[in-house]
Amino acid sequence: MSELQISSLAPPAEDTVPASRARRRVPAWAVWLAASALFVVFAFTANLFVLLVAGTVLIYAMSAVGLNLVMGQAGLLSLGNAALMAVGAYLTGMLSGVPGWGVFPIPLLLSAVIGAVVGLLIALPALRLRGVYLALATLALQFIVAFAGDQYQEGANAVSGVQVDPIRIGGAELELGPGIILLLGAFLGLTIAVVRGLTRHAPGRMWAAIRESELAASALGVNATRWKVAAFVVSSIIITISGSLLASYNLLVSSESFSLDFAISFIVMLIIGGMGTISGAVVGALIVVALPFVLSTVANALPQEGFGEWLGDNVFYINNGLYGVLVLGFLLYRPEGMVPALRAAFDRRRRAEPATVAAPSVPDEAPDTGPAVLEVRDLTVTYHSGARAVDGVSLRVPEASIVAVLGRNGAGKTSTLRAISGFFKTEQVGLTGRILLDGKDISRTSPSSTTALGGVLVPERDKVFPSLTVGEHLALAAPHGARDILQRPHFARLAERLDQPAGLLSGGERQLLALSVAALLTPRVLLVDEFSLGLAPAMTQKVSEVIRELRDEQGLSVLLVEQNAAAALALADWVYLMEGGRVVGQGPPESMADHDLLMGVPNHA
C-alpha cells in the first residue's frame, strides 16, 4: 500500500461556492425607461394587425400577472380567472352608455371595488381548502358567473353579446391604434410595478412561506389567513380590471368568451412562461395569444393547396394540440417554466467559465492493487440551482475490495454515488467527467442499465418495497434459485420471514434484505449508501460482516458511502475523504483514523 496522501485541506476556492447570486445589476429605473421607450416606438410603428394582437397580449398578460400572485406566489390553485374577468367585463358593459357612469375610468374603479369583494368571497374557501379542492371551489364561481352572464344577455335582448363603448379620454375615442395600446401598456406596467413591489418585499416572503408549509409558516408568526386573503384580494382586483379593459377593447361582452377553456388558458400561460415569476406570466401570455396568429399567418403565406390548405383548414386544432404539447413538454422537462429555465441556463454559463479554470483534479494515485472494476475520473455534478455538489472527484474501486468514501453531511458523497448509479441522467443534473465500469463508460447510462451492467445500488432509504413479502423481493431479483442465498447464516433471520411484507421488517432486517437482493442481481460492484444509518451498533457489525463475506466469497467490489467513520474504517480496504465536493485525502484505513476531518464525522458506534 502506498503512503497516505493528504492534499490541501484549505477551504474550497471562492469560485466553487455558488455564492454571489447577485447578478451584475442594471438599475431598475434604466430597465423601465428602456422598456417604455421601446414600447412607445413599437406602438407608433407597428401595423394595425400587430397592434390588435398586442392589445390582447397586454390585457391577458395583466390578468396572468394577477393570477400568478395567487398561484405562483402563494401556491393556491385557482380556476376563477375567467369568471373574475367576466365580472369586470359585464360591469363595464352595463355601465356603457349610462350617463356619468360609463366614463373612463369609472368602470375600472368600480371593477376594482367589485373585484376586491369577489376576491374576499373566493378567499373564504381558500382558508380551508388547498390544491385541487380549492381549484374545484373556484370553479363554482365560473359556473355562477357564466349563468348570470347568460341571464343578463337574455334580459338585455343581446344573446350574441352586449355592445360596449370604447374608452374616451378628453373627448377622444380610443379606437384601435397607438393610443389604446399605450394606455394598456401603462396598465400592464403599473400592474407589474405593484406586483413586483409586493413580491420583492415582506409580503412576498409571507406568501412564499405559506406556499412552502402553511403550518410551519404560522409557527414562524405568519398570519396565514390574513395573507391568503390579501393575495386573493389583490389578485382579483388586477384580474377584474383586466376584464373591464378587455370589454372596452373588444367593444363587446359575451358569455361565450369567458368559458372554462379561457380560464385554463391562463394556467397554460403560467406553466409555459414560469409559475412564480412576473416576466414568466408576461411571456406565457405572449406565446399563448400570439401562437394562433402566427400559425394562421404561416398558413396564409403557404400556397393554398396540399400542406398549406390542410394547415389553413386545421389551424384551430393544430393550435390547441400545440398548447397541449407545450404544456406537457414543460411539465416533463422544464417544470419551472421558460423564464426560470432560461435564467438558470444563463447563470450556469456565467458560472461555468471561471470554475473550470480553477478546480484542480486530485492526483490519481489510488491503490494499485489489481485492475479497477469501477473508476471515476474528474466527476463534476452541478445541480439546477448552480450549486456544485461534486467538483472534480476521481476514485478507483479495485477488484474484490471494499472502498469507503467518508465525509460530513453535504460533502458530496451521496451525489457521487447517485452519479455512478445513473440517477442524474433522468434528473437533468449537470454531469461531466468519466465513470468506467469494467472499462465501459456508464456516465450516460440509465439506472436500470447500470444495474444490468453490474453497478448495483443499495440506497439509503426506500431500499425495500413495504407491501411485497421477503420472498417476493428475492423472486423479483432472481426468479430461480433465489432462496439459496438464505442458506447463509447471516440471512437466517430473513428465511424465517419469507412470507412477511417487508414493511414489517426492522431497519436491520431491511438492510439485510436489500443486500441479499443486490447480491442476487449478479453485481460487479455494490454501491452502498449509508448502510449503518439508524442501526444499533450490534446490527451495524452484522451488516458489515455480510458485506465482507460478499467480497470474500463472490469476489464483489464494494463502494461504501458512510458518515459512521468507525464502521467504515473497520470494513474498508481503502478510504477516500471528501469535503466541499472534492477528495481531500485518501489512504488505508489505519492511516485515516486520526484524520482531522474524521473528528468532525459522527462516530456513535
Binding site: 447570486r21 412564499a208 396565514a224 458518515q563
Partner: protein, 256 residues
C-alpha cells in the same frame, strides 16, 4: 414581572386512542436554559408543538409570562414573543438564507400590502434596514458568507444554526429549540453549542429538546425527563442522570 417565563401544567394530548402527553408540567424561569430529554417517542416534540400552538392540548394549560396561550393560534403566540426552531429543516429549503432569516423579524416589522404595492421607496428603505439586520444576525452566528445560498444547498449543521439565527431575529422572550443537534457531526455540534451560548447570554429563556444528553447537561440548569408521555421529574442534569428510572427509560433495561 411574573416569576416564570413559561409554565406548562398538567398537559394532556391525545391522538385518537393514543395518549401522547399524560399530565406533563414544567416551568422555565426568566433567562433560564431548560432541557427536555427522553427516549424516542416520549412526547418531547409533541410538548413543544403544544407550547407553540401547533397542537391544541386536550386539557391543561400553557402560560407565557403569566398569559394563557393554550387556545391561541401559532402566529399569535409568535407575536407574543415565543420563537421556535424546527426538528427538520425541510420546510423552507427553497428560501435563500437571507430571506429565511428576514422571516424571523415578522414580530418586529409590519408588512403591509398597501405600502409594498404603492409606496416603493418607503418599502424599499424598510427592506434595506431589515436586510442589514438579517446580515448582522447571520454575522453574529458566523454565517454571513452563506447569506445568498439556498438553504437546501447547505450542510445540515449549518441549516440548524440558520434556523436558530432566524428564531432569535424576532427578539423572542422565550425560545424553543427542537433537537438542535440531531443529524449534526461532532464539529457542527460545537458550532450549535456556541450559537446556544450566544442566545443565553442575551438573557432569552430557552427550552432545549435534544437526544444528546451531554449537550443538554452542558447547557441547561435543569432538565425535565419524559418517557411514554409522562414526566419522570425535573432537576439538575446531574441529579436526574443519577436516577435509576431515568437510566432505565433511556437504555430500555433496568439499571444495574
Amino acid at each position: 414581572m411574573p416569576e416564570t417565563a413559561l409554565e406548562v401544567s398538567d398537559a394532556v394530548l391525545r391522538f385518537g386512542g393514543i395518549t401522547a402527553l399524560d399530565g406533563v408540567g414544567f416551568d422555565v424561569a426568566p433567562g433560564e436554559t431548560y432541557g427536555i430529554i427522553g427516549p424516542n417517542g416520549a412526547g418531547k416534540t409533541a410538548l413543544l408543538n403544544c407550547v407553540s400552538g401547533v397542537y391544541r392540548l386536550d386539557s391543561g394549560s400553557v402560560r407565557l409570562f403569566g398569559q394563557r396561550i393554550d387556545r391561541t393560534a401559532p402566529n399569535r403566540i409568535a407575536a407574543l414573543g415565543l420563537s421556535r426552531t424546527f426538528q427538520n429543516t425541510e420546510h423552507f429549503t427553497r428560501f435563500t438564507v437571507l430571506d429565511y432569516v428576514m422571516l424571523g423579524r415578522l414580530r418586529r416589522s409590519r408588512a403591509s400590502v398597501l405600502r409594498s404595492a404603492f409606496a416603493w421607496p418607503l418599502a424599499e428603505r424598510e427592506e434595506r434596514g431589515e436586510r442589514r439586520l438579517a446580515h448582522e444576525a447571520l454575522a453574529r452566528f458566523g454565517l454571513d458568507h452563506v447569506a445568498a445560498e439556498e438553504i437546501a444547498d447547505l450542510p445540515y449543521g449549518v441549516q440548524k444554526r440558520i434556523d436558530i439565527a432566524r428564531a432569535v431575529q424576532g427578539e423572542p422572550r422565550v425560545l424553543l429549540l427542537d433537537e438542535p443537534t440531531s443529524g449534526t457531526t461532532t464539529g457542527e455540534r460545537k458550532d450549535v453549542s456556541q450559537a446556544l451560548r450566544a442566545v443565553s447570554e442575551q438573557g432569552i429563556s430557552t427550552v432545549v429538546v435534544d437526544h444528546d444528553v451531554d449537550f443538554v447537561s452542558r447547557h441547561c440548569t435543569r432538565v425535565l425527563v419524559v418517557s411514554h408521555g409522562k414526566s419522570l421529574g425535573c432537576g439538575t442534569p446531574a441529579e436526574m442522570l443519577r436516577r435509576a428510572d431515568v437510566v432505565e427509560a433511556f437504555l430500555g433495561v433496568p439499571a444495574a
